[in-house]
Amino acid sequence: MQSESALLQPLARALKYVTLALGAFVMVFPFVWMIIASLMTAGEIQLRPPVWLPAEPQFRNYSELGESIPMGRLYFNSLFTSALIVFGVLLSSSLAGFAFAKYRFPGREFLFYLILATMMIPFFVTLIPVFFIVRQLGWIDTYQGLVVPGLTSAYGIFLMRQFIITLPDELIDAARIDGASELRIFWRIIVPLVKPALATLGTFTFIGSWNAFLWPLLVINSRELMTLPLGINSMKSLYADNTHLLMAGTAVAVLPMLCVFIFLQRYFIQGIALTGLKG
């Protein structure tokens, strides 16, 4: 028994690492290949037999991008709209979650169940009418049109309510006895205590709005307001015959965000893990 497992254990361990490494290779290599291809010439990509590395890395592929794709603008638009959406969702969700968790008011149950019910509505069901509303408001091709429909989240309200309801009422009562206003209680007591939940919700919302495509595709017309996914979409036709440039453009659109993620991965992943346990 003892000797058998002593023999098997290193083998099992090795197998574990090999499996993990294989999986990781599959996950990472597409990104690596994108970078390699982005440094090839147009000819090298179509060479037969295929080549695996550029003879000489073509860094000028990246400088060629600058002229036709306003990368800076795309980044600004994506950052600006995502930041607004994250801020709006965090604020509205925590305020409403606080009210639903810690206040008694007529219609509370009804409104809360209403919000729960809207959580079930998939985005595409509301796509056409929301487009129509945004159009009635004159918000097509504006930042408002991109941002405002995303400022509240039923899921966010639900998540924050679940967190805040676990906080002891005594904290709030004590603050009230000290004469704190309701807003102050929210800001000074509730918000600091639900920071982990806010981080989770913020991460989720950010990834969602940063990568959103269908809504911006419908709402945005002008180049000046395009977000990164729209930029990638227009590069697809712009560089249809220039795969090396398409790869360079996609790399520029994707890699900075990946770097940020790698630096902040702990917070990202902790936040994400939380959703599965609380959701």
């Binding site: 574990k16 993990l20 069901v125 990834i207 994400i272 939380l274």
Partner: protein
């Protein structure tokens, strides 16, 4: 719940206004806190879904005024379910996509989470590597994989032909396009499910395993009788959210095949987008949305029941 109901003196929808001025003030604050999100949800979710239902009973090209939409009754629904070959096909494709994706994500997600939960070096690094596609825009992944799976110049075909295997059409093959899309979707999301399962595994108290070992249980028995039952809540979350998401796939298909070849990879939301915004058939597109919504609701209810019931049995 029962006790509270019986205590109520008036009907549930009639407001109970608190007596004290202090309580009334607090109530006002609560209304202020919920006002903006509730109004926004009404405007951007509840109103639209009602409007969508209304439009689905009409013919509307979005260019003519809403007040002049011709009434069509249930004919949009009837057309979709009996006459529109593309809708039924896209429905089948969407189911295939969801079943394949959810199955693979659950098995691979749990498998890799188990590996990562064992004694392993560099857990954080592995996790990061597996998580990278999750935060990448589906559109970027679509562009990357359209190139990687290209029939002529794609990396995968370069590799498989180099080792003597036959070249595959992947995204351009009627029998492979959908399967390739499933692969890309799993590639994109498996890291997310690994993280979820891993968090679930780490939440299982070590005592259970210790006790099982005292009883002489093997690894497989531990998995069957401790890990799986205790993971049910996470499993439920993974299966339900993944199914809901997969049934709504759009970005990936739009940016890779666009439904080609010959609708063999057409999905419901892409077909809906085309119907609405390419052919200006808002009524029919809205009906499509409602049918899919009904299906999603039904599947979700069934999944929740199945996975919950079994959790109680154990």
């Amino acid at each position: 719940m029962q006790a509270r109901l019986s205590r109520r003196r008036r009907a549930w929808w009639l407001p109970e206004i608190p007596k004290s001025a202090l309580m009334r003030r607090r109530m006002l604050w609560a209304y202020a806190f919920v006002a903006a999100p509730v109004v926004a949800l009404l405007v951007f979710l509840l109103g639209p879904i009602l409007f969508s239902g209304w439009v689905s009973l009409h013919r509307w090209d979005m260019l003519s005024p809403v007040s002049e939409m011709p009434w069509r009754g249930l004919s949009n629904y009837r057309y979709l379910l009996t006459k529109d070959p593309v809708f039924l096909k896209s429905l089948g494709n969407t189911f295939f996509f969801a079943i394949g994706g959810v199955g693979a994500n659950t098995i691979l997600g749990l498998g890799f989470a188990l590996l990562l939960n064992s004694r392993i070096r560099g857990r954080a690094i592995w996790r990061v590597l597996y998580f990278m596609p999750v935060i990448t825009a589906p559109l970027a992944l679509a562009v990357m994989f359209a190139f990687i799976f290209d029939r002529n110049y794609g990396l995968v075909n370069n590799v498989i032909t180099a080792i003597g295997l036959p070249r595959q059409p992947f995204l351009s093959g009627p029998n492979q396009a959908l399967l390739t899309l499933v692969f890309i979707a799993v590639y994109q999301f498996v890291g997310y499910y690994i993280v979820l399962f891993l968090a679930g595994l780490q939440g299982i108290p070590q005592d259970y395993y210790d006790a099982a070992q005292v009883d002489g249980a093997g690894k497989l028995q531990e998995f069957r009788y401790i890990t799986l039952p205790l993971l049910r809540p996470v499993m439920l979350f993974v299966v339900v959210t993944n199914t809901i998401g997969a049934l709504q796939v759009f970005d990936l298909v739009f940016a890779t095949t666009g439904g080609a070849p010959a609708n063999s990879s057409m999905t419901v939301v892409l077909h809906m987008y085309n119907t609405a915004f390419k052919f200006s058939r808002m009524g029919r597109a809205s009906a499509m949305a409602f049918i899919l919504f009904g299906i999603i609701l039904l599947i979700t209810i069934v999944q929740v029941r199945l996975l919950r019931d079994r959790a109680y049995q154990d």
